[in-house]
């Protein structure tokens, strides 16, 4: 089955990004495809490569990047939401790309299921 994921909250502040990541990982491990993860609202902050958590904490941003690299998950950051919050190509972490809201609509159209994580 083809899943689309939506993440509406930034890393660390809210559990949404952790939940979305663990769901995505479980979906892939169970033979499903996660076609795209769309980051909206403060969720765009998951894409900042300037993120530096303490060493004993999980690295939420790198975790997403690794998932994109290993499983070809398309990580899309909403351009309007990103510009509002200072996320641009120059501080975009690996595996993410910035694009329009149409990519979210496309997830809804193309995926069998769309699962949203937020506050």
């Amino acid at each position: 089955m083809k899943f689309g994921i939506v993440v509406n909250e930034g890393p660390y502040q809210h559990q949404a990004s952790d939940s979305a990541y663990l769901f995505t990982k479980a979906a892939i491990e169970n033979g499903h495809e996660v076609w795209r993860v769309f980051f909206y609202h403060d969720g765009v902050n998951n894409a900042s490569k300037l993120t530096e958590p303490p060493q004993d904490d999980r690295h939420i941003v790198n975790r997403w990047s690794k998932l994109a690299e290993e499983h070809k998950v398309d990580l899309v950051v909403c351009v309007a939401a990103a510009l509002r919050r200072g996320i641009k190509d120059e501080n975009l972490a690996q595996g993410f790309r910035i694009s329009g809201l149409g990519q979210l609509v496309e997830s809804g159209i193309k995926c069998d299921r769309l699962v949203t994580f937020g506050d």
Partner: protein
């Protein structure tokens, strides 16, 4: 894109306190531009989004409520308001800046079941 799905946007949050209502409206407009079958549902504090007469000058924030009136230009005409939520907030249909269909909770639930994609922010 030729495929048409039924998209429902569930709005349960009041405007201005957080950005969700504004950014959700942006998704609604884009979804309509993709020629999808769009409905909006206003539940709980989400009904406050539609209140007439929003004056945001004093909080130095853009008043985005006129955009709800522009929805019909995008052929988005299915706006549903939960009666219980409206009543609980001392509001009536006359308080809204666009015309809406007022439904019971049960009718809202049934409508939700008919959708292909349900999005809430």
């Amino acid at each position: 894109m030729s495929e048409v799905k039924k998209f429902m946007f569930v709005n349960r949050k009041a405007p201005y306190g957080t950005i969700y209502a504004l950014e959700s409206l942006e998704v609604v407009l884009i979804t309509a531009a993709f020629d999808q079958d769009v409905s909006l549902m206003f539940l709980d504090d989400g009904v406050y989004q539609l209140k007439k007469g929003q004056q945001t000058k004093g909080i130095e924030t853009k008043n985005f409520s006129p955009a709800y009136r522009a929805l019909e230009d995008y052929d988005v005409e299915k706006l549903y308001v939960d009666k219980e939520s409206m009543d609980a907030r001392g509001l009536t249909e006359e308080d809204f800046l666009v015309s809406v269909t007022v439904l019971s909770r049960a009718e809202m639930g049934a409508l939700m079941d008919e959708q292909d994609v349900v999005l809430s922010f």
